[in-house]
C-alpha cells in the first residue's frame, strides 16, 4: 500500500481531535447513564423517582450514547486519520467535516439524549432515539459517505487494503440498515416487524460497529508494528465472509419465537459460521502481532491487540449462545448483558480507544501522557473482566431459577448480589475512561511522537545511557 502513496497525505488533524474529544466526553456521559441505571437495579429509588431519570430512559440513553456518541465519534476520528493514509488522498472537505461534526453531536447525540429523557423515544433496541433524530442520522450517514468514500473510489479497488474494504462496507451498509431497523418496525406490526428488528439489532453491531472496529485493528497492527500483516488473503476471506454472514444473524435474537423456524435455523447456522470467520480473522491478526508480546509497549497497539482477543472470545460466545440448547436457558438473562458488554465495552471500545490513541500519537501538537494511558488499559481490562464474569454468572443463576417452579421474584432476589458487583465495576471502568481522557488531554504536546519512538526502541541516547549504566553495575 505504500508504493502509490504520496509522501505526506493531508490529514485533518483538527477533525480527528474534535471527534476524539467528543467521543471521550460522550463516553463519560454514557457511562454515567449506565452507572445510574445499574444502581437503580440494586436500589431502585436512588436518585428520586423523577420521569427524567427513570430506569428505562437512562438505559435507552446509555446504549444509544455508547454507540452513537462514543463509538461513532471515535470511529470518525479514526477515519479522518486513516482514510487519507489508506488512499493517499484528502477527505472530500474539511468544511463538510465541520458540518458532520455539528450534525452528529448537536443534532443527533445531544438532542437524542434530551428527547429520550423527556419521554420521546421508540422502544426498539439500538434504535431508541426518536424518529426525528433518525432522520438526522440518515442525513449524517449520507454526508459521511460523501466525505469518506470518494477518496477510495478514485483508486482501483484492486489496490484496496482490507481496512478500506471494512470502511466502505460499514459506511454503505449502515446507511442501508439504519432505516430498516428504525423505520420498518414502525410500519410493519408485531411478529413481522420483530423480524426486521432482529436484523437491525445485529446489523447495528455487525455492519456498523464491527467493520469499523476491525478496520482499526487491521490498520493499527501493521502501522504500529511496522510489519505487514500475516496474510492479505485471509484478511479478504474473512472480510467477505463477515459481510455475507453478519446480516444473516439477526433472527437469533428471537429463537423459539413464532418467526418461521427455517429462518431461525438459518440465523443459527450463520451465527455458528460467523464464529469460524472470526477465528480466521483474529488468527490472522494475532499472527500479524507475533513478536509484539502480549502487552505491547505501544498503548494503542496494546488496546488493539487485546481488542482482537476479546473479539474472538465474544464471537465464539455468540456462536455458542445462538445454539438452541444454550439459548433456551440463557436468553433473556444477564448472560446476554455480559455478552453485549464484552462486545461493546471490550472488543469495540478497546478498538476505538486503540485507534484513537494511535491517531493521537501522530498529531504533533496533541497532548499525550503514556503513563495515564497505561493505567487506562489495565483499569478497563480489570473492570471489563470482572463485569463480564459477574454478569455471566448472574445469567446462569437467573436461568436456573427460571427453569424451576419457584416464584419469579426469587430470580430477582438471587441476582441482586451480582448486580451489586456489576455496579461496583464502575470504579475501575470509570477510572479507566477518565485516565484515557486525561492521557489524551494532559501531558506534553507531542508526547505521542516520543511514545512512538520509545515503543520501537528509538529512545534518545540520554534516556538510554543511565539504564545501560545501571544494568552493567547490577543496580536497578
Amino acid at each position: 500500500m505504500s508504493a502509490a502513496r504520496p509522501a505526506s497525505p493531508p490529514i485533518e488533524s483538527r477533525l480527528v481531535y474534535a471527534h476524539g474529544l467528543a467521543a471521550l466526553v460522550t463516553l463519560l456521559i454514557s457511562v454515567a447513564f449506565g452507572i445510574l441505571a445499574s444502581i437503580k437495579l440494586i436500589a431502585p429509588d436512588v436518585a428520586g423517582n423523577s420521569a427524567w431519570l427513570t430506569w428505562g430512559r437512562l438505559r435507552y440513553d446509555h446504549t444509544q450514547g455508547i454507540m452513537l456518541g462514543w463509538l461513532a465519534n471515535a470511529f470518525f476520528a479514526f477515519l479522518y486519520h486513516a482514510v487519507p493514509l489508506l488512499t493517499g488522498r484528502p477527505v472530500t472537505s474539511a468544511r463538510l467535516g465541520q458540518w458532520i461534526f455539528g450534525l452528529w453531536n448537536f443534532a443527533v447525540v445531544a438532542p437524542g439524549w434530551v428527547l429520550v429523557l423527556a419521554g420521546f423515544s421508540q422502544p426498539l433496541e439500538w434504535a431508541e432515539f426518536p424518529l426525528v433524530i433518525d432522520a438526522f442520522v440518515v442525513l449524517a450517514l449520507l454526508l459521511l459517505g460523501i466525505q469518506f468514500l470518494p477518496p477510495f473510489f478514485s483508486r482501483g479497488l484492486e489496490d484496496l487494503y482490507v481496512s478500506s474494504w471494512y470502511i466502505i462496507g460499514a459506511l454503505v451498509f449502515t446507511l442501508l440498515a439504519y432505516p430498516m431497523g428504525n423505520f420498518v418496525p414502525e410500519l410493519v406490526p408485531g411478529a413481522r416487524g420483530a423480524a426486521f428488528s432482529g436484523l437491525w439489532i445485529h446489523d447495528a453491531i455487525g455492519l456498523f460497529v464491527t467493520p469499523l472496529a476491525v478496520a482499526i485493528l487491521y490498520f493499527v497492527v501493521p502501522a504500529a508494528t511496522r510489519k505487514p500483516i500475516f496474510s492479505h488473503f485471509l484478511s479478504m476471506l474473512a472480510f467477505w465472509l463477515l459481510f455475507f454472514l453478519y446480516p444473516l444473524n439477526g433472527t437469533h435474537h428471537y429463537i423459539f419465537s413464532v418467526i418461521p423456524m427455517s429462518a431461525q435455523i438459518g440465523a443459527i447456522t450463520a451465527s455458528t459460521l460467523l464464529g469460524v470467520d472470526v477465528i480466521i480473522n483474529v488468527a490472522n491478526l494475532l499472527l500479524s502481532l507475533r513478536g509484539s508480546g502480549f502487552f505491547p509497549r505501544d498503548i494503542g497497539l496494546r488496546f488493539v491487540g487485546t481488542s482482537a482477543v476479546l473479539y474472538l472470545i465474544v464471537s465464539i460466545q455468540g456462536s455458542v449462545q445462538a445454539q438452541m440448547s444454550v439459548n433456551q436457558s440463557v436468553h433473556f438473562s444477564d448472560w446476554v448483558i455480559g455478552h453485549s458488554h464484552l462486545a461493546m465495552l471490550g472488543f469495540a471500545s478497546f478498538a476505538a480507544a486503540g485507534g484513537l490513541i494511535h491517531a493521537w500519537q501522530r498529531i504533533p501538537w496533541a497532548r499525550y501522557d503514556a503513563k495515564l494511558l497505561g493505567w487506562s488499559y489495565w483499569l478497563l481490562l480489570a473492570g471489563l473482566t470482572i463485569m463480564v464474569l459477574d454478569l455471566t454468572a448472574a445469567g446462569l443463576v437467573e436461568a436456573h431459577w427460571w427453569q424451576s417452579t419457584a416464584p419469579w421474584i426469587e430470580s430477582v432476589r438471587a441476582v441482586k448480589p451480582f448486580w451489586l458487583i456489576r455496579t461496583l465495576t464502575f470504579v475501575p471502568i470509570t477510572a479507566g475512561f477518565l485516565a484515557l481522557l486525561c492521557g489524551l488531554v494532559v501531558g506534553p504536546r507531542g508526547g505521542g511522537l516520543k511514545a512512538i519512538q520509545k515503543s520501537i526502541g528509538l529512545e534518545p541516547i540520554q534516556e538510554i545511557a543511565p539504564k545501560l549504566a545501571s544494568s552493567s553495575t547490577g543496580r536497578p
Binding site: I42, N49, S50, H253, A263, F332, W408, V412
Partner: protein, 398 residues
C-alpha cells in the same frame, strides 16, 4: 469490473439477508396470521393506544417480554406460547429481549386494577423485593389518584392477552387446524393446560390443596414478611405500605379468625376481584407455614353470652337484609352472591371480631358491594346483626 462485482456482491448479501430473514418470514407470518387469527380481534382503543406509547417510552419492554417462547419452561410459567396474530396491533412490536420482570403477554387478567395502579405508583409497597422503577409522575400524589396517563397504562395492560382469551378454545382449535406449524409448535401454542399459567392469577373457585397444620413458624415468618407484609402489615393489621392504594383494603388478619380451609383456599386461589393474588408458585409447606403465621395474629378472646332476644333480633335482621348475599347459613352463597365481582364473606370459615363486624355494618367495606347499613338499621339492629353473623363460624372440622 471488480467495482461492479464487489458492489453487486456486497449489496446482494445485504439484500439477501433482508429477503431471507425479513421479507420472506414476513410473508409466511402474514399467511399464518390470516389463517389463525380470529375474524375480528379487538383493536386498541384510544386510551389503550396511549398506554402502549407510555409503556414503550418508559422502557417497560426492556425488562418485560411480550413473547412466550415455544419452550416447556416458558409455557409452564406464563401459558400458551404466543401466536403471530396476537401482536398484530403492535406498531412497533414490544417483544423484548430481556426479562428482569416476568413476561406480560397474558398480564391482562392476572392482577386487579388497584393492584396494578399501586404497583405502578410504588412497586415496592406491594412487592418488597421488586426492582421495578416507580412511576409516580403518572399519578396525582397517591396510588388511588391516577392521572389519565396511569389509567391509559392500566387500560393497555388489561389488553395483554385479551384477544387470545376472547378467541376462546374455539379460536385456538381453528388456529391449530390452519396453523402450518410442527407438532412441537402445536404442543406449545395450543397444548398448554392453561392459556394463562400465571400462578398469581386469582380465581373465584377452584380446588386447592389442604394445608397441613404443622407449618414451620420461623420459615413462615420469613415468608410472610417478604411476601405478605407489604399489604397486610408486619403484624397482620392490614396496614402495610401497599395498603393505602388498595380497594378493598387488605384484610386485617388480626381481627379475623380463619379456618384452615379458608386460608388454604385464599392462599391457593387468591381473592378474586381484590388485589390479593394467588400464591400457587409457593411450595405447599411454605403456604402451610404462612397460614400458621396468619392464624397466630388472632388472639382468642372470651366470647360474651348473649340474651336470646338479641340473637333473635340479629337473626331477623340477617334474614331480611344479609342473607341474599351472605347466604341463609352465612356461607357467602346467597342468591345474589354470583352477581358480584367479589364474593361475599363466608362467615362459616371466617369470623370477624365484634368490632370489625360492627365497623363493616356501619361503614360498609369500601371497594366491595358491602354498603353501610346505618340508614336502614337502628343501632340495636346493627349490634344484633354484628353479633349474629359471628355465630355461623364453625371452626376447623375435628
Amino acid at each position: 469490473m471488480s467495482y461492479l462485482a464487489a458492489g453487486v456482491g456486497g449489496l446482494g448479501f445485504f439484500a439477501m439477508s433482508v429477503l431471507l430473514l425479513g421479507v420472506w418470514p414476513g410473508r409466511v407470518l402474514e399467511q399464518q396470521i390470516k389463517g389463525t387469527s380470529p375474524d375480528h380481534p379487538l383493536p386498541l382503543t384510544a386510551s389503550e393506544k396511549r398506554g402502549r406509547v407510555i409503556y414503550g417510552r418508559e422502557g417497560c419492554a426492556y425488562c418485560h417480554t411480550q413473547q412466550i417462547r415455544y419452550l416447556p419452561a416458558d409455557v409452564a410459567r406464563f401459558g400458551a406460547a404466543t401466536l403471530a396474530w396476537e401482536t398484530i396491533f403492535d406498531y412497533p412490536h414490544l417483544w423484548g429481549t430481556r426479562r428482569i420482570g416476568p413476561d406480560l403477554s397474558r398480564e391482562g387478567s392476572v392482577r386487579s386494577a388497584d393492584w396494578q395502579l399501586s404497583h405502578l405508583y410504588a412497586p415496592r409497597s406491594l412487592v418488597a423485593d421488586s426492582v421495578m422503577p416507580a412511576f409516580p409522575w403518572l399519578f396525582e400524589g397517591a396510588p388511588d389518584r391516577p392521572r389519565q396517563e396511569a389509567q391509559d397504562v392500566l387500560a393497555y395492560l388489561e389488553t395483554l392477552g385479551r384477544n387470545r382469551a376472547l378467541a376462546g378454545p374455539e379460536g385456538d382449535e381453528r388456529a391449530r387446524k390452519s396453523c402450518n406449524c410442527s407438532d412441537d409448535e402445536k404442543r406449545f401454542a395450543f397444548g398448554s393446560p392453561a392459556l394463562n399459567a400465571s400462578p398469581a392469577m386469582a380465581r373465584r373457585q377452584g380446588s386447592y390443596p389442604k394445608l397441613s397444620l404443622s407449618g414451620d413458624l420461623r420459615a413462615g415468618q420469613r415468608l410472610y414478611s417478604s411476601n405478605c407484609a407489604s399489604c397486610h402489615g408486619i403484624r397482620g393489621e392490614g396496614n402495610g405500605p401497599g395498603a393505602a392504594g388498595l380497594h378493598p383494603r387488605p384484610a386485617n388478619l388480626s381481627e379475623h379468625e380463619y379456618t384452615w380451609d379458608r386460608l388454604s383456599s385464599s392462599l391457593w386461589n387468591g381473592g378474586a376481584g381484590t388485589a390479593m393474588p394467588a400464591w400457587r408458585d409457593l411450595a405447599r409447606q411454605e403456604l402451610s407455614a404462612i397460614a400458621q403465621v396468619v392464624r397466630g395474629f388472632h388472639a382468642t378472646q372470651p366470647e360474651p353470652s348473649l340474651p336470646q332476644d338479641v340473637l333473635d333480633l340479629g337473626s331477623r335482621v340477617y334474614a331480611a337484609h344479609c342473607a341474599q348475599c351472605h347466604g341463609e347459613n352465612g356461607a357467602g352463597d346467597g342468591s345474589a352472591a354470583g352477581q358480584f365481582p367479589i364474593a361475599p364473606t363466608n362467615f362459616q370459615t371466617q369470623r370477624p371480631s365484634l368490632a370489625a363486624s360492627l365497623r363493616a355494618l356501619r361503614n360498609g367495606v369500601e371497594g366491595t358491594p358491602m354498603a353501610p347499613w346505618t340508614a336502614e338499621l337502628s343501632e340495636a339492629e346493627l349490634s344484633a346483626a354484628a353479633y349474629y353473623v359471628r355465630g355461623f363460624f364453625h371452626g376447623d372440622p375435628r
